[in-house]
């Protein structure tokens, strides 16, 4: 069927329809989602701070190494809880509270890898892993190159 075969609805009908959608669309209460995001995001960061305190006691690390270690540990925890199916349950309630922390990045990598694992190792796990992480990595590299150029040419 061609696209031209579709019936053309008059503009008034289309407008009415989009207004109807706006009314009947399920609305998540905004204040509640905001509170959840705030609380969960804050708690995840507190876990990060606790991990930092523990690692600081266990190993002798420079501040840069320590923060890299904390990032790695948080990403490990994020991947683990994703694999156990806990993180996605949390994400349904917490919204941005579970996306914005670095554990959310880990979750996006791990969940798409796990979701597609029955399609095989190469085109399932390895390729699909980057559906969400890909843009982050690409923009991250572009950002860092831009920053490097700014540093070299402008800030010196």
């Amino acid at each position: 069927m061609d696209k031209t075969d579709k019936p053309e609805y008059p503009e008034a009908v289309q407008k009415e329809y989009s207004e109807l959608i706006k009314k009947t669309e399920p609305k998540t209460p905004k204040t509640k989602t905001m509170l959840c995001a705030f609380a969960v995001g804050g708690l995840i960061c507190c876990v990060g701070e606790a991990v930092k305190d523990v690692l600081d006691k266990l190993f002798t690390l420079t501040p840069v190494q320590l923060s890299a270690f904390v990032t790695a540990a948080m990403i490990f925890l994020g991947s683990l809880f994703t694999a156990l199916g806990i993180y996605d349950k949390l994400g349904r309630k917490a919204g941005a509270g579970s996306i914005v922390p670095i554990t959310g990045f880990a979750n996006s990598v791990a969940s798409s890898a796990i979701e597609h694992n029955r399609e095989g190792v190469f085109f399932g796990i390895c390729a699909q892993m980057f559906t969400v992480a890909g843009p982050v990595i690409v923009f991250g590299i572009v950002l860092s190159v831009a920053a490097g150029l700014i540093k070299m040419l402008i800030l010196k």
């Binding site: 989602t33 905001m34 995001a37 705030f38 609380a39 995001g41 804050g42 708690l43 995840i44 960061c45 507190c46 990060g48 701070e49 991990v51 923060s67 890299a68 270690f69 904390v70 990032t71 790695a72 990403i75 994703t82 694999a83 156990l84 199916g85 996605d88 919204g95 941005a96 509270g97 996306i99 914005v100 922390p101 670095i102 990045f105 880990a106 996006s108 990598v109 791990a110 890898a113 796990i114 979701e115 694992n117 029955r118 399932g124 796990i125 892993m129 559906t131 969400v132 843009p135 982050v136 923009f139 991250g140 950002l143 860092s144 190159v145 920053a147 490097g148 150029l149 540093k151 070299m152």
Partner: protein
């Protein structure tokens, strides 16, 4: 002693919470996808780091500023800055990945391992 810890964790909680709250406000009003939020916050953190402002947030909020993805953006920029000081033009290319190596390495390795071990759970119910 206890109160020092409590105050520190309160600052972490507030900083991290507010950053996530901003993300949620964005979701509520524009319906952006996960990937876009991650990229946007990373770029914001990176921009603040380039301007030299992110370190003040990190000094106040500790992990509250470094755990959100904006902290990852700031790490990328920091890595680039340091590498440029050390290696010049080559550092422009290598710096970001050096800074973010811990994050990318851990994320990719454990995602691979867990995807081999675990089965997809989301489709079960």
């Amino acid at each position: 002693m206890f109160f020092e810890y409590a105050a520190e964790y309160l600052k972490v909680f507030l900083t991290g919470g507010i950053i996530c709250l901003l993300g949620q406000i964005l979701i509520n009003h524009t319906k952006v996808t996960t990937a876009r939020i991650l990229v946007l916050f990373m770029l914001l953190g990176g921009a603040l780091e380039i301007l030299g402002l992110y370190r003040y947030i990190a000094e106040f909020g500790g992990a509250g500023a470094t755990v959100p993805i904006s902290g990852f953006g700031s790490v990328l920029v920091k890595g680039a800055f340091e590498a440029v000081d050390e290696f010049g033009l080559l550092g422009v290319m290598t710096g970001g990945m050096t800074g973010a190596a811990a994050g990318f390495g851990t994320a990719i390795f454990f995602a691979f391992i867990f995807a081999l071990i675990f089965k997809a759970k989301t489709k079960e119910k």
